[in-house]
Amino acid sequence: MNLGRFILNRLGQIVITLFIITTFLFLLFRMMPGDPTSMILDPKMPPEAKELIRKEFGLDKPLMVQYLYYLKNTLTGNFGKSFYYPETVLEIVKRKLPPTILLFTTAVILSYLIGLPLGKTIAWRRGSRLEMGATVFGLFFYTVFIPWFGLIAIWVFSYRLGWFPIGGMLTPEVWAADVGLFPKIWDVLYHLILPLSVLTLLFFAGSMLLMRNSMLETLREDYILTARAKGLPERVIKNRHAARNAMLPVVTALTLSLAFSLNGGVLTETIFSWPGLGKALVEAVLNHDYPLAQAAFLLLAILVLFANLLADILYAYLDPRIKY
């Protein structure tokens, strides 16, 4: 099987998965009480107006018809109309996706950049103080209660020290003042630093411990003994032989940790008012904006699924034994 066919195959699986998820979401929300009129409690809004709104969203039609509409909407990618905002869900989601990708991918990449070498080192220096320290430190952040930690970070770094903005993704004054591209990019980066650091701190332990365990297993492999018997310097053994091979299972496990890190992403976005999908999802849920909540969730799922695909391709690249 060549790579193209493999990707095609995986895409097929992703489509099936997404179909199951969309159907599940549809059933979940349509079976539950409440509709777009549920958030409207306004004495100026006569009962007929509510009926009209239901009609407008096609909620007066039989369930099966609604389901087909919903599928059609999802397939064409516009996800229907938001219950809450006067826009299509697609327009909203389009705006929310880039910030999430920016925050999420940089955090994942950064945490791997930190976690992998650290994991490598602590596995190599097993039983050392460094291992103990890094493990305790990493695990604490790995299991810390994210919103609380986020608030404390804001308290210390934004409020007390005043180093970073309090939240959001940009300074309105900068963007409203037509200052050119560079200051705008810098402004976004400036807002990115704190949530990014928090997320990175939360994630790196995952990759570090994975790498450590994988490395410990690799270090028992015969080819490591061979490498030693060849008289290779330790550094070469550690990097070229142990770490390089230990990467393989870590890349696979990456697929799982991606879904995990999105959990943190949702809470972090909410705490830092980062205008991404995670925050949109939480708000949509609180607003009973089901179409938006569904789409946001679906997109998060797609994000993970494609990241998984990417990880698989990366795996194939890293492991010469695998030929698709």
């Binding site: 003994l225 030693r228 018997a229 060849k230 070229r240 032989h241 091979n245």
Partner: protein, 321 residues
């Protein structure tokens, strides 16, 4: 002149249950150009000896005492960097599990080049030519150099490992069960290969195996190990003609002889002792058909009994000869 001399080597593994005395007071020597065979059941400490010589014991391995003199230098006192320079260059190891001994993610040729470049200042081109030469020497197609280990068959991998072991012209080659994972025909080929190379390069060889018949083919002298101890040591022919230690006798009768007449295979009854709590006295006594009272109480001394023939057994005395 002996190239390697092991004197009263004692070493153990630390485990959560206690100390495992894997090698307990082993002494032997190997002369330049000679091939020594070490035989014993699995877990008797043969591989530990090999790893001790290479100073490649796992982290929980502890040296309790003894000396390993290589060209009159004690390897056990060398620092890590000096030792690294010895490995692969002056002493090479071919060890068990040849199938996993090559790193699956690197090209085989590169793994050999890497070994060469670790010891010699040599350009890539020159190293490549050296590897090509080695490939021919061990009977591999140099065209396979760019392939990954999983593209090699078991026999090819073992040849590649031999090529790797010889890449820096070592003085001593330790082969620790180099053919375990291979089928009989390939096994035979590989052994022939090793023998050929040993003669060609005048290599000093320590050949470790649980198969005494393989050793008989390859080595000029044989050491028999049991439960961390060397129980008998003699030139091959002497050993086969008159095995003295009851264990050796058992071992010989349990293997079909290639050269000798067909005998019934009669395995030694009983189990290999647990080295956490080895039997008192002679470690073989619970399984020994000739065990006497003293065997359970007193440890037999390892002593020379004839010229070049050493033994550790209460039941064999000079008068018996």
């Amino acid at each position: 002149m002996s190239l390697l001399e092991v004197k009263n080597l004692r070493m153990c593994y630390q485990t959560s249950q206690g100390l495992i005395k894997a090698v307990d007071g082993v002494s032997f020597e190997v002369k330049k150009g000679e091939a020594l065979g070490l035989v014993g059941e699995s877990g008797c400490g043969k591989s530990t000896i090999a790893l001790s010589i290479m100073r490649l014991l796992p982290p929980n391995g502890r040296l309790l005492g003894g000396e390993i003199l290589f060209a009159d230098e004690d390897l056990l006192t060398k620092d890590e960097e000096e030792m690294r320079k010895m490995r692969g260059r002056r002493i090479s190891l071919i060890f068990q599990a040849a199938l996993n001994a090559l790193n699956p993610v690197h090209r085989v040729g590169d793994q050999i080049i890497e070994a060469i470049q670790a010891h010699e200042r040599m350009g890539k081109e020159e190293a490549l030519r050296r590897v090509e030469e080695l490939y021919r020497l061990v009977g591999l197609d140099p065209g396979m150099m760019g392939s990954f280990p999983h593209q090699y068959s078991g026999g090819m991998k073992q040849r590649a490992i031999i090529a790797l072991a010889l890449s820096c012209n070592p003085e001593l080659l330790i082969a620790d069960e180099p053919t375990t994972a291979l089928d009989v025909i390939i096994q035979d080929q590989i052994i022939k290969e090793i023998l050929k190379l040993q003669k060609e390069f005048n290599l000093t060889l320590i050949y470790i195996s649980h198969d005494i018949s393989l050793i008989a083919e390859t080595c000029s002298s044989i050491g028999i190990m049991y439960a961390g101890k060397l129980v008998e040591y003699a030139p091959t022919i002497a050993l086969f003609q008159s095995p003295l230690h009851p264990y050796t006798q058992g071992l010989l009768s349990s293997y079909p002889s290639i050269k000798g007449p067909k005998r019934r295979i009669s395995p030694i009854p009983g189990e290999v002792p647990n080295l956490l709590h080895p039997p008192s006295g002679c470690r073989f006594h619970p399984r020994c058909p000739r065990a006497k009272e003293i065997c359970g109480k007193e440890e037999p001394k390892y002593r020379r009994i004839k010229e070049d023939h050493y033994i550790a057994c209460h039941c064999v005395n000079n008068s018996a000869l």
